[in-house]
Symmetry: C2
Subunit: 201 residues, 2 copies
């Protein structure tokens, strides 16, 4: 007779996530609040806390879903250019990243904007999601940066470089011109990086 | 007999800015609110609106001050390496940018975090402040990217690259390790860029 409770939790989990995602996409991260999400999902705030711990737990679950989708998009980009030159492979990764951000600006922004309260640790699974993304870049540069430590640092820097160009461009919200200009910048920085990586150092 | 009003405005301007800066540095951008800033500056909300138009006008004035300081820091970095190699010059710029961000995280973050209400245009003077910053990078790469249009696009991409690495690192808040790691990443990306820029293309 202890079945109903887990079933109720299991049913609330995807509904709360779906409502949170809709609010995030429509109104931004600040709209994702415990009271509002639970009301629109037709459950109590207590149920939300029971399922996700607190509103930050729900946002982390939402962001983990975004990171997983982003990881798939970037991996698909890597596969599409698997046999091409280093520059083409890096460009495929950069374009995949950029197109995901342009197509899902609110979800993408929430991954970088969300701050946990002081003292609260990011869950290990979330760190693993981030590492998986960096691993795709590491694989792409493995031949030119054979040292593992250097390669991890390089992948992090290259990710930051592409991320920064995308973030500044999306901040500017250049409208129609945005995507063409951004694609050109992705091609440019990929070329610079491919030529400039310390080959076999 | 119309003297007193401008004098009162002139006196309130620096006080309001100083209070806003203190609140920003102590509690972040969300603490910079019209009611609180005017109360702590010892004037009415009406005076704040009279001087800056609204709270966004005050934040833009604050951010313009930050951009001016950042511009001076980056220009000083450029001067210190004026006769060095392309890699050393780019690294001096990247380090100057990074060190400013690490030393003034709240002010630096506010420049990129602040969003104007929909339909409100960024003032021309603010765009000029940003252009002056990009001009320092353009000057550093002028010899290797002679075409003006390409050079402007390249400077914007390189700025984004350095900005992204700094932004992600500051988000992580790695504590003590942060500055050494970031300096290494600045040196790494500067080397990649210097070797990879399309010389004379």
């Amino acid at each position: 007779m202890s079945e109903p409770k887990p079933t109720y939790r299991d049913a609330a989990h995807p509904r709360l996530l779906a409502v949170a995602q809709r609010l995030l996409e429509a109104e931004g991260l600040s709209a994702v609040q415990a009271r509002r999400v639970s009301r629109e999902a037709g459950c109590s705030v207590g149920t939300l806390y029971n399922v996700f711990g607190d509103i930050d737990g729900l946002i982390i679950a939402l962001n983990a879903g975004t990171l997983a989708l982003l990881g798939e998009a970037v991996k698909a980009g890597a596969s599409s250019a698997a046999d091409a030159s280093l520059e083409s492979r890096l460009c495929a990764l950069a374009l995949a990243y950029m197109r995901f951000a342009v197509a899902n600006p609110a979800r993408w922004e929430a991954v970088f904007k969300h701050r946990l309260p002081p003292g609260r640790e990011v869950p290990a699974s979330y760190i693993e999601d981030q590492s998986r993304l960096l691993a795709v870049i590491e694989a792409a540069i493995a031949e030119v940066v054979p040292d593992v430590g250097q390669r991890q640092a390089a992948a992090r820097a290259l990710f930051g470089a592409v991320h920064g160009i995308v973030a500044l461009a999306l901040d500017d919200r250049l409208g129609g011109r945005l995507k063409d200009e951004l694609e050109a910048q992705m091609a440019f920085i990929s070329g610079v990086i491919a030529r400039g990586l310390p080959t076999g150092a």
